[in-house]
Amino acid sequence: MHYSEVEAKLDKQKELSAIALKNAVASYALVGPPNSGKTTLFNLLTGMQYTTANYPGATVEFCTGPLKGFENVQVIDTPGVGSLLAFSPEEKVTVDCLQQFNPQKVMVVVDANQLSRHLYIAHQLQFMGYDVLLVVTMLDVARKKGKELDLDKLSQFMECDVVGLDPRQKGNRQQVLEKLKQKKEVASIHSKSLEELRQNYTHDSIQKIYEGLDDIEKLVIRKQAEPELGSFVLDNIFLHPIMGIVSFALIMTFIFASIFWFAQPFMDGIDGFFGWAIEASKTVLPSNWFGDFVSDGLIAGVGAVAVFLPQIVILFLFMGILEDSGYLARGAAIIDRPLSKMGLNGKSFVPLLSGYACAIPAMMAARTIRNPLERKLTLLVIPLMSCSARLPVYVLLIGFLMPAGSALMAGAALAALYFGGFLMGAIVSTILSRLVKPDVSSSFMQEIPPIRRPVFKIVAKTTYNRAKEYVKKAGPTILLISALLWVFTHTPAIGFGQSQTSAPKEESSEYVAISQSLAAQIGQWIEPVTKPLGLDWRGGVALMSGFAAREVFVSSMALIYRLDDMEEEEGVNERLIKKMRSITFIGTDEKIFTVSTVLGMILFYMIALQCFPTVAVAKKEFGSKKLAFLQLAVFTGGAYILSIFLVQGLRLMGIA
């Protein structure tokens, strides 16, 4: 894929939203601080029909969805912010979005339990001239704390419409819709610029505004009981000096290990299915090149990757649970101190963690980091966190190293690889942070929301959306590369077969065919590059195909080492590992895949930046082409050199 094409694709999401908004007869924006229940309201209004899916962590880009039942009315969800002074990137996104699309009404979502803090941004929006509808959430929680809110009074004091959301009552949606329909008599004038806003919200005026909001809060809330100190019971564990660290380590280990443990039965099922599908397609399709192409090219290629979908779904699922339960904010606060020693920030936690799913949304999530240097260091090390595309590669290679059926060991090995990625990132950023002087001092401020039981329906739906997005992104590439590789490995290169003088004497016909293919010719060009890694040209081609998409490596291996002669009952993955164990260098008994070469490949995949969409996003988020390309060159070059050292070093130590 072309670099510029990737860039265009990234803007497509924004473009889609922009087009939807342009064609809409009306648009309503949602603005509110983090943890105010903004997403819940967005889901309620749109029926969870995202035009664009949001990723783990934080909403850092605005997204849109049609109002359920009104196709031509759009709802805009903006990043969760508590202020519009735009001193941070996500605040800037919100301000730009409002100014660009000029929504009819701005719904400001406020938590009934922290009214004054959340009314502050409503004050700013009113100052800017927007028609504000206050949506008060978590009234049920407030009631439990003995607080009763007088919403009519709130409407009177804030001089805007107010609607309360109570999850235990029906008709919430209807109430919001009715208020949305009401038009303000005076047309709203949004003439205030960001400069005017900043001039108006100074130290002294903020103080006065809060004094006013305090008065409103006092008049609106009828206290029925003195609120108790809201220390959350579970925090006695999660934030305990010892148990807090232990539980943090356990949660992280559990997530990464369970990727292996829980996924196994599903993976066996899918693997078996594709094994069966290959055989079945062979009996149905004609036994010519076309039948071959479909069964051994397309089905085997897709199957080799589809097998890993359960693991990716499980990773997304656990991240969704952490996100929805409120643990992510705690994780960030816990890990702030260690991360700050590495030149990072507690706010780097969510971007780094979501880097284990995909580097692209992770880099976008880094916008929440206020300090420019910490933000750049986070962006730099994100690609070292092993994203879900590397999972299939690791699983195959670990499967090769481990005896069959040792899920526990394999899980531990995977957890070690995942931790290894983080460790490398920690070393890189520690060193760099000592070399570069920061121009802004570091700070950390993180709201800790109450621990909630995750809502299954929401977690399931977001997991589904993210998995779908993943398949849509990776699927076509895998199919295309599988087809291309099949063609390359089956098409003889012109004049190539004859000129090959060093052809092995007694090789299977299978090898003779592939050794005269186009792939062989390409492979032999790159063989000098892959030889130091202990790989023959076939392994080299498979390794290089990872630059199209990392997971393609697995299907390339399946295609290039020709699984078609294997026994019928086995799944694709099983066959591939078996084949890897037996394959030798041409004309010799020397095995290609040994402990050292496989470890070398694992190390290469851990470090190399093989994903071009990531480079495109990095360029955007760094705000510098130079830094993005430097990152690409250093990581990929470093991966290559370190892998050679590892393979050759192990061999020197006598480990084949």
Partner: protein
């Protein structure tokens, strides 16, 4: 002898007197509701001892010691 936020023990509360230090940082703190005159309670430390969790205006916010030192108490 001036008291700042770091000196609060677990469960103790006080009234914010003033904010001192970096201009952008104190503006940020004010915007988040750490205004002079508001009540603030020390909830607990996080496992590594820093940041510290405070309750203010109906929510809990974790602040590093360095920021908490900018907030003086009455």
């Amino acid at each position: 002898m001036e008291k700042n936020l770091v000196q609060l023990n677990k469960g103790e509360w006080a009234i914010i007197d003033s904010l001192r230090g970096d201009d952008l940082l104190t503006l940020r703190l004010k915007e988040s509701g750490f205004t002079p005159g508001s009540k603030i309670t020390m909830v607990r430390k996080t496992p590594f001892g820093d940041p510290i969790l405070y309750e203010i205006r109906g929510t809990q916010i974790a602040l590093r010691k360095k920021e908490a030192e900018c907030i003086t108490l009455k």
